[in-house]
């Protein structure tokens, strides 16, 4: 029930996008990948998803090289919400969410026809079902793609194989209310045993919702651990070169105030 990077790196030509990352993620937890622009966050996510093979080191899913898992088998238990995704043709939102069920078309679930509407309800896009995806706003599109990812790994696997939900900047295009709604949803899925990995820019969302954070800078891992332990004003100053003050919010969760102190 683990997804692990062992000294994993990715270079394209001479350019090193990511190097020597060791990380071990557990199913049932929400892990945030943090770092400044160009730190290698999306690259790490694409290694973890098996989308790109590492050029050095290894990515292991359940103690087996991820390259050894068949694409079709991985698609039954691992879903990725892309950062941005141009869709060809005038597919409507419901048809896009239904594509999440494509890997399961040979062995449909008993409640197959109910999964797409239920996933759309979870991300609040039921009312957009017949709207053409390319005409939706960025935030609406993001929630449709999230519903697609959820539909893809909707039920636990019959063999109890771990399920993984990888989110690439899921909150980037969302308003404040939807940012929190999506993070709450991610927590709920983690609580149900799904391993959730999210690339985030908002450190406060990470502090409030993530069990664990991985901080990247310049293509390498800087820190990993519980959000509240790792995310200190010193680390933020060092990695993001920004001043901040750490305060405690009313519910006891630490939060950052930026640009002060």
């Amino acid at each position: 029930m683990t997804l692990a990077c062992i000294d994993a790196g990715l270079s394209v030509g001479r350019k090193r996008l990511l190097g020597g990352v060791h990380a071990r993620l557990e199913a049932g937890r929400l892990c945030a990948i943090l770092g400044p622009n160009g730190a290698g966050k999306s690259t790490l996510l694409s290694l973890l998803s098996g989308q790109r093979p590492p050029t050095s080191g290894e990515v292991r899913l359940d103690e087996r090289d991820i390259a050894g898992h068949a694409h079709a088998a991985l698609a039954l238990r691992r879903a990725v919400m892309p950062q941005e995704s141009a869709v060809a043709f005038d597919f409507n939102a419901e048809e896009i969410v239904a594509l999440g069920r494509l890997p399961h078309r040979l062995r449909p679930e008993a409640d197959e026809s109910g999964i797409v509407p239920a996933a759309m309800a979870l991300t609040g896009v039921s009312a957009l079902a017949t709207r053409i995806l390319n005409t939706l706003s960025g935030g609406e599109k993001a929630r449709v793609h999230l519903a697609r990812a959820l539909a893809q790994i909707w039920h636990p696997r019959p063999d109890d194989a771990s399920r993984w939900l990888l989110l690439d900047e899921p909150t980037a295009a969302l308003d404040v209310a939807h940012q929190h709604a999506v993070m709450v949803l991610a927590r709920q899925w983690a609580a149900r045993g799904v391993g959730v990995v999210a690339v985030l820019h908002d450190l406060n969302l990470a502090l409030r919702y993530a069990d664990e954070v991985i901080v990247l800078d310049q293509g390498g891992k800087v820190a990993q651990g519980p959000a509240a332990d790792v995310l200190t004003p010193e680390l933020v100053r060092e990695v993001w070169r920004t001043q901040c003050e750490r305060v405690t919010s009313g519910d006891g969760s630490p939060q950052f105030l930026f640009g002060s102190a």
Binding site: E95, T130, Q152
Partner: protein, 351 residues
Amino acid sequence: MSVAMGSSRRLPTRTVLTGGGVLLLLAFALGASSGAYAISTAQLWGVLRDAWQGVVAPTPEHLVFMNIRLPRLLLGIAAGAGLGVAGALMQGLFRNPLADPGLIGISSGAALAAGITIVLGAWLLPVLPRTLGSWTLVSMAFCGGMAVTFLIYVLSRSEGGTRMALMLLAGIAINALAGAGLGFLSVMATDEQLRSLQFWLLGSLGGARWSAVALVGTVVLLACAAALTLSAPLNALALGESQARLLGVDVERVKRRAIVITAFAVGSVTAATGVIGFIGLIAPHWVRMVAGPDHRIVLPASGLLGAALVLAADTVARTAMAPSELPLGVLTAFIGVPMFLLMLRHYRNRI
């Protein structure tokens, strides 16, 4: 219109497929009854009933229908269905509604090979017959289409697999080269050769005979069946190659299959009929406008609509300037080019 409102209206699958079937039947009936020898509806029924019961009636309408018109109509159906399905496949594969089977070089390769056969045939293949519809021309054209498609496929290979943008560019370059070759051949050609080359390039069902119908029909039928198995992966491909891969689709295999299916379908059709333009471009587009972009509907409905369009165009080609026959490609271009320009307006913000 639906784009402007941002809401999708789609006819149900059954309605679309029934509508396509009805259109095809109408075009078939129209094509069957009109021509140099007009056959009335009542006569047509009689002939069809006789044919069904295996009776060979020695009436002129029976002879005309069974020996001339029916093979022509069936070749038209095979050609239209093949081109329509191949067009839908290519548009799905290139993720672009303006893609066309010609993009991967089948038509230009077939045309170049046909041109070589017609113009240089007397010198290269002196003993073989080279008239329109002859087996020499058909097999040369088929091989030419296959060879050029294979060349473009090889040129578009890169480390990570086949790059579609590379394929598009290689296709444009090779198509231009084939065009130059044809231009050169047309300078060398005698007037008579030029005429048959011209006729071939504009397409015609005039070479229809039962042997060609059986061969092209079989290839197109198999190609259509194989194409339908790609409909779900093609839908996933609309999300982009990496997302399709994450949904478990073997993208390289889908590309290879789509290209092989298209090459066989369009290669065999073009070899038998010459170049029939625009059917592969507009049939899928019209289907998408009424039925939405789901390839499970677009693929079969494009086949039905393509077949109906070719039959209708051929009927006009045979009758409009009788007794002389218009080239089929002229008519499909007359319908196709205005449609293409409308599509360009429709998609102008996305190109």
